[in-house]
Structure formats: C-alpha cells, structure tokens
C-alpha cells in the first residue's frame, strides 16, 4: 500500500479532529550559532502564542542570573516540583516545567 493511501485512510478513520493545517515548526528562542549571548527571555514554548505570553511574563519577574546555588534555591526547586506534581495529580494538567506558573516559595517549609 502506498503511504499516501494509508494516510488518507487514517484521516477518515481517525477519532481525533485533524490539527490545524499549516502550523510551522516549533518555535524557539535564545539560540544561535554565533556569539550571541543569551541572558534573558524564556526559551521553551509550545507555540507562538504561549511563547509570547510566557516571555513577557518571565521578563517582568526575571532575576539576575546566579552562577551558584543556595540552599533556598534548592528548596524552592523541590517545592516547585512538588507543586507541579500535585497539580498534575489533582487536575490531570500536564506540568509545564519551562513556563513558571503562580507559586510562592516558603523558605520555612520543611
């Protein structure tokens, strides 16, 4: 069977609506093959729209880069991980590691 025929059959038999027709390749940022420095902007996104909104949101709360970790940073990472898991378990919404969602770090939490 020719590939095109198989694909057409699948389209007919499929239970999921076809995705939008002309979506281009995945977006990305902060990447070049030259000497460009990347010191800001969010770099992971699933689509143009989320990239834009995430980038803007992140730019607002962007902290200066920290080339070493502190105990609080590690604690925050652990707390965020747990929060993502809880959200996933409660709502079934896949976690979005790259786009920061509302979260309040509690340094005193054990």
């Amino acid at each position: 069977m020719k590939p095109q025929r198989t694909l057409q059959k699948l389209l007919i038999a499929g239970t999921v609506a076809a995705a939008a027709a002309a979506i281009d390749g995945p977006s990305a940022s902060a990447q070049t093959t030259s000497t460009t420095s990347t010191t800001s902007t969010t770099s992971t996104a699933t689509s143009t729209s989320t990239a834009t909104s995430t980038s803007a949101a992140t730019a607002l709360k962007k902290k200066p880069p920290r080339p070493a970790a502190t105990p609080d940073m590690i604690a925050e990472a652990i707390q965020r991980s747990k929060a993502r898991t809880q959200k996933f378990q409660a709502l079934g919404i896949p976690e979005q590691f790259g786009s920061e969602e509302p979260f309040t770090f509690n340094p005193a939490a054990k």
Partner: protein, 765 residues
C-alpha cells in the same frame, strides 16, 4: 510501550499490528523523503507540539475500536523459542595490537602488516585542512571531507599525548551486522541494515555478542573507530543514523576522546580515540606514583605504578554511541561495547596474593583480566516486527520498552556454573527500561549475594543483599554470588521484578519475587530472564580446552574492605540542575529551524534542564550550560526531578560524584548501595524530594563534555546540557572555552558557543 496481553483476542492483535504497520509506513515514507513533517501536520497526524496524534489505527495509546483501552503494541513473535534453551554467549574479547613510537614523529605505529596509518596527536583532519587536494587525507568512500572525523587543530589534539602515549591499539568497524546473526536459534537472522554493530578490523562486518575490551592502568589505548555504515542514510531499515561519536562511559579521558564533544563522523571515515587509562587526581594525589594500590598489572605477576588516587580506580564500564539527537536509535541498533579496566587491587586474578590484589572471583589462568568466574552481563530489551526484525518506534518521546529480554544479546539464555563464587558485572544497556533483579533459588527463595561495586566503583565494604536496588539505564552493578550453597543440578534464575509504566517514562512498582516468577501477561520482560545451572565441570573461556571442576578449590575472596572512603569536604560552590518537561524546546535555531548538530525534521524537544533556577533549555551543542573554571575545586551538585510524572537517570560524563544524600538536607532515604558511594548515574524518582546531592571535582583534562538523562529517548529529545571544563593542564587550549565543532561531510567548521550566565561562575568565585 503498551504491549498487548498474551490473552488479547486475535482481533485486538490485528488492530495493534495495523497501527504499528501504519506507523512504520509513515516512518519509511519520511525516511525516503516521500512525505514531510508539514504533510503530517496538514493531515492531522502530528500534533502541534510534534507528537504523533492519538488516532485509532496509528497510535498505541489511542482507544481501541473494540474497547476503551489503548490499542496497544503487538507482541513480538518468538518463533517458538523457549527461555533457557541457548547458552549465554560471552562477550567477544578483543586482542590488543602492540603499538610502537616513531621517535622521529612521535606517532604511534601499528604493525606494518595491518596497513593502518599511524595514530597521531593532531588529527588527520588537520592534514586535510592544510592539504585539501591531497587524496590521502580525503574520505576514500565519498571523496568529500577528511579521512578522520576528529576536528582539526590543537584544541582537538590528544591531550597529554606523550604522557599517555598509547601502548596498545584496536581497529574496529561500525557497520552492517554479519550474515546469520540472530538472538536465538529460532529467530530469523537480522538483516544487514537492521543491526549496525562493531566488528574487529578495518572492513569487518558487525558481530554479536558485543565486544569486550580489557584495559589496564598504565597501558593507554588507541581505539581506531571506522564508520562502515551505508553512505545513504535512508538505508537503515527504518531507524538508526549513519553518523556516530563513541562515548567511553565514564572513563577519565580528554574531551576529544570522550565521544560527546559534538564530534560525530561519517561513513568512510575513522576517528582515533585515545583512551588514556588516566587515574583521576594524578595531578593532586600520589603524584609520585609511590602508592602500589594505584597501579595496573604488568602481565607478569607484578604491578606498574601510576600517579593518582587509588580510591578512584574504575572497573566496569562500557562504550556506546552518543550521536546527539539519535543516540537511542543507534545504541538500540547495536552501537555499544563493554570495556573493563583492571588495576592492582581489582586485577581479576583470584590466585595472586601480593597484599594489593583483592582476589575477587575471576580465575587465575591469566595474569589479569580472567573471565572464567568474572562474567559480564549486558541487559537489553528489544521488540521485533512480525518478520522478526528489530523494531524501533522513532515517534516516541517518552521511552521505548521492548518485550524481548536479552542478556549479552541472547534471548533468555542459561549459563553453566560451578558450585563456587562468581562475580557478575551487570550493565543495564537498555534504552528506557529499568530493572530490579533478584536471584531465585530452586525453591523460589531469594539467594543472598554481595554487592561490591556501583557504576564501576568499588564500595568501601561489601554489602550483603538479597535483591538489587532499581537499576536505571547505564548503571552498572557488580555482585558476587556464591553458588557453593547449591547442589549439582540445581537451577537458579535471574528474575526481573521491575514493572515499567506503559509509556516508558519510568518505573512502576516492583513485584514480589513470587509475583515476578509467575510472570506478567502485559510485560514479558518481567520474570526470569536468565538461568544458572550448577554443574560439575565447565570449560575455561580464558584458556579454551582447560576444564574447571566442581572439586577444584575456590581461592577467591571477598575482603571486608575493598577500598577507602573519599572524604566529604566543604565545597567551593554549589550548583542546582533541574530536569523537567516543557514545551517544544529551544534546540532549533529560530531563524533556520536547524538543530546543532542536525536533528530529525519532525523532532520536538519536550525534555529540558534548568541551571541554578533560571530558564529551561533543551540541548544545543553550541550552548554551554555549566562551566567549571578551575581544576581541583570541590563542588556540590544537586540534581532535581522538576516534575512528578517521570523518572530520569542522570549521567555526568568524565567524573564520578560521591553521593552525599537524597532529598533536601538528606531527608529522603538513600539506598545503602548509594550512600557515600561514587557514581556516574543517579536516578531521580517521583517520590519524596526527588533530588540527589553529590560531591564532585574535575581535573587532569578539559574541554567540552555533557550531562544528561540516560533514558536515551529523553536524551535525544533533548534533556542534555553541555558542560565546559577549563580544567586542562596549564597552558593548554583546555583552559579556555572550546569552540564548537560542527561536523559536516565536507569537514568540521567551528562556531563560538554561547554561555549561559547562570552556569558561569567566573568573576563571582
């Protein structure tokens, strides 16, 4: 991978087979350029994030037309093969080729009879660059580009060449598997382009079982790797990429020989790796080489002392493909081998008592490196299409699980053993599957054993166990089993108890031994995967023809102390690395859409890494995510699983870390096999704090290395980061940032990498 139950109806099996066939057809069409990713989007077969749509008739996860459960994946045909009906193949021990030094040039000369050109400090690409019209430096197969893939110039010259001048060499070819290669006598032979593995010699076909190279401290190795795969990348039977860089996991080598500096090479070319056998800390500890414990066997009962810290001696290692973005396909296809290092203490000669040799079970017919009672076991799981050819699903970004367990690339083999002690070096050379192994005696009870090494590093004291801990991808566990408690005729089974999640993202619960022995209808890789048969005599593999008998004395010992603990000290700095799942990733150049290096047209990259709490990134070889400014500085690294849904075995190249604790401030339990133990792979689970902290330092060499998830699927999509070490010897190019090599069939060009500021401590400490 959701395998259909063995009890599934024929109609369900047919449905699953059709889905797989359709994926295969799409894959083939993509491979041949008959369709593009854009076509798949248009037809709705790919989601906007680049994943295969969950369509009935296509995806194994779409609901079945006959039930509200996943369509599933068809079971691999076994052609009537039964477990434990073929003997365990021992790995193919390679014979070293003596090299001599040309005093005039400083080159390493192979014996003239081999017709091999000398090995050199500077690559042959350097000659090609300087003499582009000279045919002797061109790829003889394509007449394009250089004959050697190692990049040109001083930066990719072999570091410390004279100091670690190669004394022995190996010439091997990666290419089509030899005719009549099969994983069981009942299985069909694999087609030449289904399996690409390593063969001995310049123009050899690939062979199985994989190679075993025995190295020893004090005897540096030159490994000449020829790429003999087809020039046409589409001639791959649906998976695998005809470009490779070979990573020696986790030996202490310069970046130019680590096999992960973005230095893959092309069909028709070779790459000279110099595996230096350097003992870590040689510039810092025991610099005068006076400690006999830091040594290698001399072949005549004596030792050759080397500089360095004997506590960092390595033993059980391996090598595998590391072509970025295609590692899973290539490793699965057979690009892997085993390499063990032997040392004064860990010599693999149980009969020699000189006060240094630990005399672990091994044999004594050879001066070192005996394999009679020291056995490598490479665990692997695969799937077949309905014709019995190796099958790989290139559409998965979560994980790939096979339903056929292999040991040393043989389906569920048996091994005859004497009633005495054996050492087993167990390697999880699997793409995504984790293992949890227990030995079941004739009565079904767990058999006790001793755990002696983790990731090739001896533990301070042997650890008595009745079951191994979870074993993630690339982890190596060395154990000693004493079969003297059994009678001739007894059979002992090696049992996998580790259930995996259907999607391959990580492990599920571990079954009890009784449950595992009963098998799992949904996962044939659970249950017994190998059988040991206690017999009264076996033939030596070290000296064929010699017979070992059950009545022979067992001179081997497992000493109460195997090594000493490396002290834990205050660090110069701490670093934080989080591994999580994001959107499409930033591996592609937004202007060109290209990856560095090249990647599949339809690949997207959900698996990302954050450094020190900053933004998440997916792999780009031209981006440095962490930079180590100076040699010898103690650092603490904390690695965190950024989400709860997936497990990640995280691998650090080049150096081992002393595992300090799990969880924040050590509040999570840590297995006794990990506590203060040196490792190079750490599992990040989904319970507790999901974090591990280890102590690490870098030295002796420098250049571009990586850290990544060793679930090879996660790694390819693209949970991997570049690590830049400025830790070379003073005055060498490896004290500066390495320009990024970009291999092409016409030669390597360099670009200047970007450096993430959150990973660069220069100027702050």
């Amino acid at each position: 991978m959701h395998f259909l139950s063995s009890k599934a109806s024929r109609i369900r099996q047919r449905e699953a087979q059709n889905a797989r066939d359709n994926r295969l057809e799409i894959r083939t069409a993509l491979n041949r350029g008959q369709i593009t990713r854009r076509d798949l989007y248009k037809w709705g077969l790919f989601t906007t994030t680049g994943f295969l749509a969950w369509k009935n008739g296509l995806s194994p996860y779409a609901r079945s037309a006959f039930a509200a459960i996943p369509t599933g994946t068809p079971r691999s045909p076994l052609f009537g093969a039964q477990k434990f009906t073929q003997p365990l193949p021992r790995l193919a021990v390679q014979t070293p080729i003596p090299l001599t030094r040309d005093p005039a040039t400083g080159n390493a000369l192979f014996p003239a009879t081999l017709g091999e050109r000398p090995a050199k400090r500077l690559s042959y690409h350097t000659d090609f660059t300087n003499n582009p019209a000279d045919p002797q430096f061109r790829n003889p197969l394509t007449n394009r580009g250089p004959i050697e893939g190692r990049p040109p110039g001083e930066v990719f010259a072999h570091q410390r060449w004279d100091e670690f001048f190669p004394k022995v060499g190996y010439v091997s070819s990666w290419g089509q598997v030899a005719p009549n290669t099969r994983f069981h006598p009942n299985f069909p032979a694999q087609n030449p382009n289904t399996v690409w593995t390593w063969g001995t010699g310049r123009s050899a076909r690939g062979t199985l079982p994989p190679m075993l190279i025995k190295g020893r401290y004090g005897e540096p190795i030159l490994f000449r790797a020829y790429n003999n795969t087809p020039v046409n990348a589409a001639e791959n039977n649906g998976f695998g990429h005809n470009e490779t860089q070979l990573h020696f996991h986790n030996a202490h080598n310069g970046a130019e020989s680590d096999g992960a500096a973005n230095t893959h090479h092309f069909p028709g070319t070779f790459y000279d790796y110099r595996w230096s056998t350097t003992l870590a800390r040689r510039d810092k500890i025991n610099t005068g080489a006076t400690d006999r414990r830091a040594s290698g066997p001399d072949g005549n009962g004596g030792l050759v002392n080397v500089a360095g810290d004997f506590r960092e001696i390595q033993g059980t290692m391996w090598a595998h493909d590391h072509r970025f973005f295609f590692t899973a396909e290539n490793v699965y296809k057979g690009n892997l081998m085993k390499i063990n290092y032997y040392s004064g203490p860990d010599r693999a000669n149980e009969g020699l008592n000189d006060g240094v040799n630990l005399r672990l079970p091994s044999g004594s017919l050879l001066d070192w490196g005996n394999n009679d009672f020291d056995v490598d076991l490479m665990l692997y799981d695969c799937a077949f299409d309905r014709t019995g050819q190796l099958f790989f699903d290139i559409f998965t970004t979560d994980g790939f699980l096979g339903d056929v367990p292999l040991v040393n690339f043989a389906y569920a083999p048996f091994m005859e053993v004497l009633p005495r002690k054996y050492r087993f070096r167990i390697l999880a050379s699997t793409i995504s599957r984790w293992w949890q192994l227990t030995l079941a005696g004739p009565n079904g009870a767990a058999v006790p054993f001793q755990f002696i090494a983790n990731d090739g590093n001896l533990v301070v004291n042997p650890i008595p166990l009745t079951s191994l801990p979870q074993q993630g991808n690339a982890e190596r566990y060395d154990i000693v089993v004493d079969f003297s408690r059994f009678r001739i005729g007894d059979r002992i089974k090696l049992v996998n108890r580790q259930k995996m999640r259907d999607d391959g993202r990580g492990p599920d619960q571990a079954l009890t031994l009784a449950q595992a022995l009963a098998g799992d209808p949904n996962d044939p890789a659970i249950g017994p995967i190998m059988e040991f048969r206690v017999v009264d005599q076996v033939e030596s593999v070290d000296v064929p023809g010699v017979i070992h008998r059950a009545t022979d004395p067992d001179p081997s010992v497992v000493p109460a102390v195997l090594t000493q603990q490396i002290p834990v000290v205050a660090p110069v700095r701490q670093r934080l690395f989080e591994f999580g799942r994001s959107g499409g990733g930033d591996s592609r150049n937004p202007q060109t859409g290209e990856c560095t290096p090249s990647c599949s047209e339809f690949a997207t990259f959900p698996w990302s890494i954050k450094v020190n709490g900053d933004d998440a990134h997916t792999f780009n070889a031209n981006r440095i995510s962490a930079l180590v400014p100076r040699p010898g500085e103690i650092e603490y690294w904390t690695i965190v699983n950024g989400g709860g849904g997936w497990d990640h075995p995280i691998h650090l190249h080049f150096e081992e870390g002393v595992t300090l604790f799990r969880g924040r401030d050590g509040r999570d339990p840590i297995p006794v096999t990990e506590r203060l133990v040196r490792k190079d792979v750490w599992k990040l689970g989904t319970t507790g704090d999901r974090s591990v902290t280890f102590q690490v330092q870098f030295g002796e060499y420098g250049g571009s290395y990586v850290q990544h998830c060793h679930n090879n699927i996660h790694e390819d999509f693209a949970m991997l980061m570049r690590l830049q070490l400025l830790t070379g010897v003073a005055g060498s190019p490896q004290t500066a940032v390495t320009p990024t090599p970009n291999p092409t069939p016409d030669g390597v060009f360099f670009t200047t990498p970007e450096i993430l500021p959150e990973g660069d401590p220069r100027g702050t400490t």
